[in-house]
């Protein structure tokens, strides 16, 4: 069987076991889906030949209907995580570009393109139009003489 199916369901112990095809659900997707359930269930992963087994036990008391619903939610989460993974993979380059631009902008860093935009003002590095390099003694002397 391709899709996940309930191997075992026991309302007395609030447990159930789901079986998933390894070929359809990569381990990353399984981890991500299992992680979402950690706050409301005890999760144990196992492998049985070409299938993953997911043992879930509710942290609280669960009826048969609630256990069945939880298995459906787990399957939905698997699909959501698989899709999320696919979208991230397809847009990896765009995500990286946007992130690096955002970080550069937040850091106030200078981009190489900023230098291209600035025009040449024809000044030498020794030019000192604001008189910054003039020693204060010289400035003071000039004022005193005048």
């Amino acid at each position: 069987m391709g899709h996940p199916h309930i191997e075992k369901l026991d309302p007395k112990t609030h447990t159930m076991t789901l079986s998933l095809d390894i070929g359809l659900y990569p381990a990353d997707v399984l981890y991500a889906a299992a992680y979402v359930f950690l706050d409301r269930a005890y999760v144990l992963l196992d492998r049985a030949g070409p299938r993953f087994e997911v043992h879930l036990r509710g942290k609280g008391e669960l009826t048969e209907a609630q256990l069945t619903a939880m298995s459906g939610e787990f399957e939905n989460e698997l699909l959501a995580q698989a899709l999320r993974r696919k979208v991230i993979k397809a847009n990896q380059k765009i995500i990286e570009d946007i992130t690096s631009q955002a970080i550069a902008g937040a850091a106030g860093g200078t981009l190489p393109t900023d230098f291209l935009a600035a025009g040449d003002d024809g000044m030498d590095f020794l030019d000192d139009p604001l008189g910054i390099a003039v020693p204060w003694e010289d400035k003071f002397k000039k004022k005193k003489d005048a």
Binding site: Y31, A32, A34, Y35, Y42, V43, L44, L45, D46, F52
Partner: protein
Amino acid sequence: MSHATHQTVKLHRTLYMQQAVKDAATTFADFAAFTIKRDGDYYAVDIKDIDPDVDGDVVAEFCNFALANTAGRKKSKKA
């Protein structure tokens, strides 16, 4: 809730990272004694001297932590 003071949990080695299991054992070291061994395709974790006064299932919580640690480590390894 389980009240046994000694249990063995088997965690499949392709699904749980050794360091993640060790970290989980360290987290729960105040509530039980953990021994991790390799047993074929599994890590067999012997959990002894489980504190009977703990309000909760130490073994099941330990398994959740081992899984969460593994998922976190795999994710950061990929990034």
